[in-house]
């Protein structure tokens, strides 16, 4: 079974660039525009990882994690690894995200090195897999 990663971001450009990088790391990628769409997708197929913007059009990051945890508990499926990927870089904001239960935090703009490194830090990739994905070098704002 292939590994799945859900990307939630309002911008289709960010989703497209991130999806291309994450596919290089061997994941099947599912995209969603809003928090609710993301939660619905998670309920249907429990992804291994979720990468989302802190501010989705309909809910904040902390709210999303709380709702996701609820769904996963109800379905008896393991909680996905959660990474935020957002333009916000204040320490206060990052602390909030980690407190809410995020496994890692990516500050935009990102490139494939950053995503690979953060996926590895979150335990989603080993070094060899990171090296394979390096060919997908590109940046997104």
């Amino acid at each position: 079974m292939s590994r799945r990663c859900l990307i939630i971001d309002q911008s289709s450009m960010v989703r497209r660039v991130a999806a291309r990088i994450i596919r290089e790391f061997g994941f099947e990628v599912i995209e969603a525009r809003t928090g609710q769409d993301g939660l619905d997708a998670c309920a249907g197929m429990s992804p291994e990882a979720v990468m989302l913007d802190w501010k989705t059009p309909d809910m904040g990051g902390a709210e999303f994690i709380a709702k996701l945890r609820e769904i996963m508990e109800r379905n008896g499926t393991p909680m996905p690894t959660v990474l935020f990927c957002t333009g916000e870089r204040s320490v206060e904001q990052i602390v909030l995200a980690l407190k809410a239960g995020a496994d890692e935090y990516i500050m935009k703009p990102f490139d494939s090195d950053i995503i690979g490194s953060k996926f590895a830090l979150a335990g989603l990739l080993d070094t060899a897999q990171m090296a394979r994905g390096e060919s997908a070098a590109c940046a997104a704002h």
Binding site: I94, Y105, I106, D111, I114
Partner: protein
């Protein structure tokens, strides 16, 4: 370097030219060739050869440092100061990665009363200046560094337009950077309990390799550790170093310094090699 590196060369050298106050890259190259300025020449070469590095590079060998070398030194010394050198420290991520891990609670428990002091040395270069400033770009701080370690040890630069992060004062407490000409071997940099020399040895020729390992051994205290990359081994024999079993890239300096010639060979009063073969043959 191939022609596909032209972009890289131009980018790096243009940055340097601006910094050095030249209007264009051409102006700097003119000046370099016209005056033969050695400081400028060093900057140009270092801008070209700077290795791309990141935080927590080769975690396996960092594990070796924290799980094998340091616990052994702490046990033997029972406290006090432990000096670590990062040889070829480039832009400083290696040193700061060690400093960050030294602040983890597990390491603090292991270290007890011992204090780790870290020194990074490299050629005078832009990379070394960045190490000294402890300033890293948005991209650099997101490579190899966990978000928890980032916010615990760096602060965002609040200057308008900047997305850099700066090493906090507590992280630099026991950290020193020094510029020196690595291969000259003439400068006195003191003695160390640990010398880190990771990921560089493959770039050296055989002669240079032997020379650099010898000079690193010289500044290593007895029973001190030389740490190469986890995938690296010493190709040549070094009588003062022994490989630590089960720890790839880790070497321990032996206590006894072989001051004399190898065993069995006694001084015979000869100062030249002339006639030595004949003497040996006659003696058999």
């Amino acid at each position: 370097m191939g022609s596909d590196h032209a972009f890289l060369v131009e980018t790096r050298l243009s940055t340097l030219a601006r910094k050095e106050g030249f209007d264009t890259l051409d102006a700097m190259v003119q000046e370099l060739f016209a005056s033969g300025k050695s400081r400028l020449a060093i900057q140009v070469v270092s801008a070209l050869v700077e290795r791309d590095t990141h935080f927590n590079r080769d975690t396996k060998s960092l594990d070796t440092l924290f799980n094998i070398a340091l616990p052994d030194l702490v046990e033997k010394r029972g406290g006090g100061r432990i000096d670590l050198l990062s040889y070829g420290c480039s832009s400083g991520q290696d040193i700061y990665s060690v400093a960050i891990r030294a602040r983890h609670s597990a390491t603090k428990t292991m270290m007890g009363k011992a204090a780790l002091h870290m020194t990074g040395v490299d050629y005078p270069s832009q990379a070394l200046e960045r190490a000294q400033a402890g300033r890293y770009t948005h991209f650099e701080v997101q490579r190899g560094l966990s978000t928890r370690d980032l916010i615990a040890n760096f602060t965002p630069d609040l200057a308008p337009g900047s997305t850099d992060w700066i090493a906090a004062a507590h992280l630099r407490e026991n950290v020193t950077f020094r510029d020196m000409h690595l291969m000259s071997g003439s400068e006195d940099i003191g003695e160390f309990h640990v010398v880190m020399f990771r990921g560089a040895i493959e770039h050296y020729t055989r002669t240079a390799r032997v020379r650099v390992i010898r000079s690193l051994t010289k500044i290593l205290r007895p029973y001190g550790y030389l740490i190469l990359g986890s995938g690296e081994t010493l190709q040549e024999q070094h009588s003062e170093l022994e490989a630590v079993p089960g720890a790839p890239g880790l070497y321990r300096r032996l206590k006894i310094e072989p001051v004399y010639e190898p065993v069995g060979k006694q001084p015979n009063g000869q100062t030249t090699f002339e006639g030595s073969k004949a003497r040996r043959t006659a003696g058999q």
